[in-house]
């Protein structure tokens, strides 16, 4: 046990987790913005935008994240010359954020859309019936309910994003899975305790987020 703790001490585990948290934070923001735009496109009455949004979602959702991630590192940057930073480490970090955001946005879009879909047509009809026009009806009646309905799927998408940040190790961002790879490479006999330690970190991060999401979605649920 003491030996194992010594092995753990050789690596900057907290720093590695910090990378995952940063990746989740930035990708969360960008995917929320992009996903909201896509959702607006898909629920707009304009066929061209609907089509574009649907095509994006259906294509990106079916491509593995690892493919998107490696595409960013091996095609987007070296072949197409998209550079986020002169610093190599920084550049890979932002390429990973790009991949995570582009991928997660399709799920954010679907989460928001499923929230809109939970609002019964009767609500819109009732809003019309009491004389509200389009904007007030959307602002006062439909969007508040849609927002509440999308909390649970959005929360689950965010939890999945947190776990997906480990895929950044595919392009050598020094996140926890890359550090774990180094650890088990050098100390193969400790693979089980190392796995349990790293996994425990995710349990500690993910389960509270899950509890908050469940609590929020229950508290804000629209009683029907």
């Amino acid at each position: 046990m003491g030996d194992f703790l010594q092995v753990l001490g050789e690596y900057d585990i907290a720093g590695a987790y910090w990378f995952n948290v940063k990746l989740a934070f930035f990708s969360g923001i960008f995917s929320l913005v992009l996903g909201t735009i896509l959702a607006l496109m898909r629920i707009s009455p304009l066929p061209s935008l609907q089509w574009a949004g649907a095509t994006y979602v259906n294509l990106v959702r079916n491509i593995p994240l690892t493919v998107v991630m490696m595409f960013a590192a091996f095609a987007l940057w070296p072949q197409l010359g998209v550079t986020f930073s002169e610093n190599l480490d920084q550049n890979f970090f932002w390429l990973a954020v790009w991949a995570l955001s582009v991928y997660t946005a399709s799920f954010v879009c679907e989460s928001i859309r499923s929230g809109v879909n939970t609002v019964p047509v009767g609500q819109a009809e009732a809003a019309r019936a009491i004389g509200l026009s389009f904007l007030p009806a959307a602002r006062l009646v439909i969007l508040p309910q849609a927002f509440r309905g999308s909390i649970a799927p959005l929360g689950n998408t965010f939890i999945a994003l947190i776990k997906n940040t480990t895929v950044a190790s595919a392009i050598s961002v020094a996140d926890i899975s890359l550090v774990m790879k180094y650890m088990v490479d050098q100390h193969g006999n400790y693979v089980i305790p190392i796995f349990l330690t790293v996994a425990a970190g995710f349990v500690i991060i993910v389960i509270p987020v899950g509890l908050v999401v469940t609590l929020l979605s229950q508290r804000l649920a629209v009683a029907r």
């Binding site: 304009l46 070296p78 997660t104 819109a124 999945a160 994003l161 997906n164 595919a170 490479d185 996994a199």
Partner: protein, 302 residues
């Protein structure tokens, strides 16, 4: 789409004119973005025949894409079967009347759902290679299978549990009324119906397995993604092009699976008293058995 009917009325003449204008502007913006992307590809020499030619050569397919695809499918097939077994065992375990078994299965399932698949793959890979001292060539495959099985098995266990909970309680009461024990009623009445109801969700889960098998490239398993990288590593370095090809392969495979899920959902409606979550792959959700399962399984899709 109900979204439309919720937000918008049927348009009048003025609204229709505005929509036509908006539609044209929207189409122009989309086309402009497309043109920009294609122009950038041209500007960076990505549209040359030299780079695309390897994609249609038989050699590339015979030595790279097809073996890669085969390895992807092999890993996915093993994982799906084992995940099913794992899911059934732990799903039924969570329904057990013994509190200890229920608690144990609950902890196992929640644990493996919270841990990223890649972490489990790396653990399984090194465990096979360094602790069990298995063939180094075999360990990456085993790592992929272990990771996919543990994660997707846990998701399937949740599906089993919510499938049984989603049945009308009259089913269980009827079983008990004709003198069955709780276990007998689960085995011969509730589980078969729950499995029927979760079939579409199960097929949708295969999409997740197939997608996540690409993580194998990180632990040196020679699947589709890794073969694409190898193609891109040689002159004329067609990285973008080979990624383009495998993206299409993944999309087509997943579209087929989603189509099957939808087909299955429509066919089995009459064979269960549970709610069939009609392979709602279109809705972005693993067609699921209950709202709870929908919310939970969505984690899987991502």
């Amino acid at each position: 789409m109900s979204a439309q009917s919720v937000l918008f009325d049927a348009p009048g003449p003025r609204a229709r004119r505005r929509m036509l204008l908006g539609n044209i502007v929207g189409a122009l913006v989309v086309v402009l973005i497309g043109v920009f992307v294609v122009y950038q590809m041209h500007a960076h020499d990505q549209l040359t025949a030299e780079k695309w030619a390897p994609m249609i050569e038989g050699r590339t397919w015979i030595y790279y894409f097809l073996p890669g695809l085969q390895n992807t499918l092999v890993a996915a097939a093993y994982s799906i079967v084992l995940a099913l077994v794992f899911g059934l065992v732990f799903g039924v375990g969570r329904l057990s009347s013994n509190r200890l078994i229920r608690w144990f299965c609950g902890v196992v399932v929640e644990f493996f759902r919270a841990v990223p698949v890649l972490i489990m793959m790396i653990g399984g890979w090194i465990f096979c290679a360094q602790v069990l001292r298995l063939d180094p060539a075999l360990s990456p495959l085993l790592g992929v299978i272990i990771g996919l099985t543990l994660y997707n098995g846990s998701v399937i266990a949740e599906l089993v549990r919510s499938g049984v909970h989603g049945l009308p309680k009259g089913q269980r009461e009827a079983g008990l009324a004709i003198g069955m024990t709780r276990g007998q009623s689960i085995r011969s009445i509730e589980l078969p119906q729950a499995l029927m109801a979760m079939l579409p969700a199960l097929v949708s889960q295969f999409v997740v397995v197939l997608k996540d098998s690409a993580l194998g490239a990180i632990i040196t398993y020679n699947e589709l993604l890794r073969s694409a990288r190898l193609i891109g590593a040689d002159a004329p370095f067609p990285v973008l092009q080979s990624f383009f090809v495998i993206a299409i392969i993944y999309i087509v495979l997943n579209a087929i699976l989603s189509w099957i899920a939808g087909k299955v959902a429509r066919r089995i409606g009459g064979r269960t008293s549970g709610k069939v979550g009609g392979g709602t792959v279109k809705g972005g959700i693993n067609g699921a058995v209950s709202v709870r399962a929908i919310q939970k399984s969505e984690m899987g899709q991502v």
